[in-house]
């Protein structure tokens, strides 16, 4: 699940240059570190009307046969296309698909390289007819790349990106395994989605199925601007995907897919999201970096089938942590970037404050299962280390098929905010009170959680709100709730006294009498994971 991210930039001198490069290539998803080998893309007949039913049947037929891993073409050449060389190769935008059609969005293919070695087949679908887009060296400008000599005609593409109308910048990209992502309404790429996740954080190792062929249809189906049809192939399954992409006041990608299992898997991850969380106000200053916070997402939000709203701030744990939140018919979940204050990030090159939140909205009932949250250790911002997905209680068996229907919102704010107050900041540090060192216990930690919105909006400062705080182990003390005067925030704070290294699950929500005022804040405190005072 870890992959190298493109949007990392080095120190300031290079930053300026990198930013220009990023403008051209901001959607580049450099592929996984160790991709399995893959089967070749299927053939479809040039000019034949495209039909999703055909794609489903094709995927189903493929699933009856063993998986054939593809072989990367021209390995010596691709090995030479390292990060800097890759940045120097420019697509000639005159050759974009739908380049000058005001009613269509231009599409530009991605080049292959050292980190994106497997070609995908690209087709354009319009007015019912299909046309394959073939790689040609003259689609790209290699003059600044240092690559000499003619490039082979059969190189292929790594994926594609969808440009803004007029061709300036892109807002949607597919590249590497089954990854795709959108810059969302704030026009800044951040976390990614995948078509499927298989055996994430399981002992046997994760499998990365891949979109091996895309059929791009404009206008899209059901009123979408663009429909991306894709064939998914992996050792354990195949799949036929239709992803309807809409962009207006909101950016949504509706996924309609049918999976065909070649074999049983240990854990199928549906609607997976992949993000990065290094540090924030919760675990600030673990890094030595000058920036106050670095993350693409700051929490997992859950809207359970029973109607409970939960906010779980993310961790960058010292060891892999897997958590499952059991549910039935979830209404949605998402990895969100609730903190939108530039001041909290201070990075005016990669703008963590503008990175999208992604909310997964099931279309239909998903039954029993769990939202899984996997958090990996990290010490940089260039690797994704957070995964969230839905996994059904009953894992699909060999030869089974499975239909998926859900909508991804690439948003600034969660599309269905809770009517209750939301947790908007989580801080933690040594417990006790400033100035009372003698009374401080090393085993005590202070948690400070700010809530805002909903029923809190109408409240003036008062002293009878309570923090319903509980811990899976340890003792909670000094809990109290106050309005942060001059702001719309209410602050719950408490000390947790706990010893030992085992994780502690904390819960807290605000109450007034027996009335619940806020969503439920859930946090996994990992004793010893935060440094102590020098």
């Amino acid at each position: 699940m870890a992959r190298t991210r493109d949007d990392y930039r080095h120190a300031s001198p290079r930053r300026i240059n990198r930013r220009h490069a990023l403008r051209r290539l901001s959607a580049t998803l450099l592929a996984a570190r160790t991709l399995p080998a893959w089967s070749a893309a299927p053939d479809t007949d040039e000019g034949r009307p495209f039909n999703p039913q055909w794609l489903r049947e094709h995927a189903e037929a493929l699933a009856r046969h063993p998986y054939v891993a593809p072989t990367p073409p021209h390995p010596a050449l691709l090995a030479r296309i390292d990060y800097d060389t890759y940045q120097a190769i420019r697509f000639d935008s005159r050759h974009a698909l739908w380049p000058n059609d005001p009613a269509r969005l231009p599409v530009e293919p991605f080049h292959l390289g050292r980190y994106a070695r497997l070609p995908v087949a690209l087709y354009r679908v319009e007015n019912g007819s299909t046309r394959r887009i073939e790689y040609r060296p003259d689609l790209f400008d290699y003059s600044a790349s240092g690559l000499d000599g003619p490039l082979p005609d059969d190189l292929g593409f790594a994926g594609f990106r969808v440009m803004n109308t007029g061709g300036a910048g892109d807002w949607l990209a597919f590249m590497g395994a089954s990854y795709f992502r959108s810059a969302g309404v704030l026009d800044q790429y951040g976390l990614s989605a995948r078509g499927i996740a298989i055996d994430t954080a399981m002992p046997g190792g994760e499998e990365f199925p891949r979109f091996s062929a895309f059929w791009l249809e404009q206008p899209g189906r059901d009123g979408a601007a663009l429909s991306v049809h894709a064939l998914l192939e992996g050792p354990s399954l195949t799949g036929a995907y239709r992803i309807d992409c809409r962009r207006g006041d909101a950016v949504t990608t509706d996924v309609h897919a049918t999976l065909f299992m070649r074999r049983a898997v240990a854990r199928l991850g549906i609607a997976p999201l992949t993000s990065m969380y290094w540090y924030s106000e919760t675990n600030h200053r673990v890094s030595g970096d000058w920036r106050p916070e670095i993350h693409d997402s700051d929490g997992l939000a859950l809207a359970t089938g029973a109607g409970e709203r939960i906010w779980r701030p993310l961790n960058a744990p010292p060891r892999v942590q897997s958590n499952a939140f059991l549910d039935r018919d979830p209404r949605g979940f998402g990895l969100l970037q609730r903190d939108r204050a530039f001041d909290h990030y201070q990075d005016d090159g990669v703008f963590y404050n503008r990175r999208p939140s992604v909310w997964v909205e099931p279309l239909g009932r998903w039954g029993d299962g769990a939202v899984h949250l996997v958090e990996l250790p990290t010490d940089d911002e260039i690797h994704d280390n957070v995964v969230a997905f839905w996994s059904p209680a009953e894992q699909p068996q060999r030869a089974q098929s499975l239909a998926l229907d859900y909508r991804l919102h690439w948003a600034a704010e969660e599309p269905y905010p809770p009517s209750l107050a939301r947790a908007v900041a989580t801080r933690a540090g040594r417990g006790g009170l400033p100035g009372q060192q003698a009374a401080r216990k090393p085993s005590q930690r202070k948690f400070v959680v700010d809530f805002t919105g909903g029923p809190l909006d109408s409240l003036e400062q008062r002293y009878d709100l309570t923090a319903a705080a509980s811990a899976s182990r340890g003792v909670i003390d000094n809990a109290h709730v106050l309005k942060v005067l001059g702001t719309p925030r209410w602050r719950a704070s408490f000390d947790l006294d706990v010893s030992g290294e085992a994780p502690v699950d904390l819960r807290c929500h605000l109450r007034l009498g027996d009335r619940t005022l806020s969503e439920t804040w859930l946090y996994q405190y990992l004793p010893g994971s935060l440094g102590l005072d020098a």
Partner: protein, 528 residues
């Protein structure tokens, strides 16, 4: 420095922690005035600063004698919590008849403040000692076997004025402990302190803390907006007379005139000293296990030199004692400022660091050549004062010499608002992004945000040139960019330090050779 740091503890505790707020808030009013005609009259009409100067000269002519007023057993060895049990009874507040714009309450002796301070009031009839009486205080849970004797005396006093509402008296200044005093402007909470004099601060020899042994407070008229306090300073090697004219308001201004007489030569004489606290801030790159992003009373030292140059030195909580000196000539002033006024950056609901005053010391008259010294002391917590700044003469003042200095301290949210040029509003540093630790070779990445002066706002998109120097090591990749979230610019560079050699860094912004746009940012990076 031990004394000053301990004093700091008191100031912290008197900060508005919810439960302690009562102890520091102006109390309700009732009953009779303390003076009530009983006051002892010294019948010396026309008593003034010259009289205090004369007393200082008399003191200086003799060898120093420590105060020998015994501390009653009941007040000896009081810990802070016990000391806090003793509260001035508000009904005895001086001038609480409601006609005068100022009121006074007194501090008991005890805790760190064991020495007796005489307090007098001056009015048209003469000078009146404020008599001590056991009944002036409520002793709370303390067991007082017998009343405190009449000669016990006080430790200091605090002043009240209707800072915000005409009918509510707010505390705005305190004189308590050695030569410490501090003040707030409207809407602020106590933070840093001033002192009358600093002697041998951060030398090998112990610091000396001269103390005010007597105060004379002039009774104001009902229309007065200022109050005058005279003070007699005494210490082993100095004596002095001080006049303070305090004007509380949106900025609380204290005009200070001091006549300082040296009994003996001192190692280091600090004039107009300020004392503050810096525990951690945005320039703290080591991990601090605290939920609050920053905790400090001040975030930088500012100096306005006589030639117009302005220096900004962000404060640090260093690993080792740091002393920085800035040569000045006819300096206009210096100050310890709290430029960062955003709650978001402190997150402390009780200590209100964003509301603590900045103090700007405006040097009146012409002070000639001297140095501004900044002392930064490592502190493990925020209850210690660990920052000291003062002016010191270029040539040491000799034993037996007497000197008059006049300066004006502005306690305010932004006492430098009228100063021109771009200001540094944030200093951040850390590892160099994108460089692996094993390749970094000690490099530090600095990010300095300048807010443009109002008159420079039109040219934000055209970044000025940065002039950066380092006394050692190499500066790499110096860039200046427009700062979209600030009307100003962001300066970044990497410092590649020499092994073990501190780097004195300076940066300012300019356009062309003669057009300096900003103050000068000054900082010292010490490897390791």
């Amino acid at each position: 420095m031990r004394e000053s740091r301990r004093l700091r503890a008191r100031s912290q505790w008197c900060a508005p922690l919810a439960i302690l707020a009562l102890l520091c808030a102006p109390p309700p009013l009732s009953a009779t005035d303390l003076l009530g005609g009983e006051a002892e009259s010294l019948a010396r009409a026309g008593f003034g600063f010259a009289d205090v100067v004369r007393r200082a000269e008399e003191l200086a002519a003799d060898a120093w004698r420590p105060d020998d007023t015994p501390l009653p057993d009941a007040l000896a060895d009081l810990e802070y919590a016990a000391y806090q049990q003793i509260r001035f009874r508000p009904e005895h507040t001086l001038w609480r008849d409601g006609r005068l714009p100022f009121r006074i309450q007194l501090f008991p002796r005890g805790f760190l403040f064991t020495e007796r301070v005489d307090v007098y009031l001056i009015d048209d009839e003469g000078v009146h000692a404020v008599p001590f009486s056991h009944e002036l205080f409520d002793y709370g849970a303390l067991e007082m076997a017998e009343p405190l004797p009449a000669g016990t005396g006080f430790a200091g006093f605090k002043l009240f004025y209707p800072l915000a509402d005409a009918d509510r008296f707010d505390e705005f200044a305190v004189f308590l402990g050695a030569s410490y005093f501090r003040a707030v402007a409207r809407g602020q909470h106590y933070g840093l302190s001033a002192r009358g004099l600093a002697i041998d601060t951060a030398l090998e020899t112990p610091e000396e803390f001269p103390r005010y042994r007597a105060f004379w407070i002039r009774r104001p008229t009902p229309d007065d907006t200022t109050i005058t306090v005279l003070a007699l300073l005494d210490g082993p090697r100095v004596a002095g007379a001080y006049r303070f004219v305090l004007r509380p308001g949106a900025t609380t201004v204290i005009d200070v005139e001091a006549r300082i007489i040296l009994r003996e030569q001192v190692g280091k004489l600090g004039i107009a000293p300020l004392t503050s606290m810096f525990h951690h801030g945005e320039n703290t790159s080591r991990h601090v296990d605290d939920y609050r992003p920053e905790a400090h009373d001040s975030d930088g030292l500012v100096i306005e030199n006589g030639n117009g140059e302005r220096i900004w030195h962000p404060l640090r909580n260093p690993q080792r004692l740091m002393i920085s000196e800035f040569g000045v000539n006819d300096a206009h002033g210096f100050g310890l400022l709290q430029r960062d006024r955003r709650f978001e950056n402190y997150q402390d609901l009780e200590l209100d660091y964003e509301r603590r005053p900045s103090a700007w010391v405006e040097l009146l008259d012409t002070w000639g050549k001297g140095r501004i010294e900044l002392v930064e002391i490592p502190t493990p917590n925020e209850t210690n004062d660990n920052i000291v700044a003062f002016w010191k003469p270029a040539t040491a003042w000799q034993a037996g010499s007497a000197h008059t200095v006049r300066y004006r301290i502005h306690f305010a949210p932004d006492p430098e608002a009228s100063l021109g040029g771009a200001r540094v509003v944030a200093t951040r540093l850390g590892t160099t992004p994108g460089v692996a630790q094993d390749e970094a070779d000690g490099r530090r990445h600095f990010v300095i945000d300048f807010a443009a002066a109002d008159d420079g706002a039109g040219a934000l998109d055209n970044p000025p040139q940065a002039v950066c120097t380092s006394s050692s090591g190499a500066l790499e990749a110096v860039t200046v960019r427009p700062h979209r979230h600030l009307a100003g610019w962001r300066l970044e560079f990497d410092l590649h330090p020499d092994e073990d050699t501190p780097s004195n860094l300076r940066c300012f912004l300019r356009r062309g050779a003669g057009d300096v746009l900003s103050e000068t940012w000054a900082y010292t990076w010490t490897p390791g």
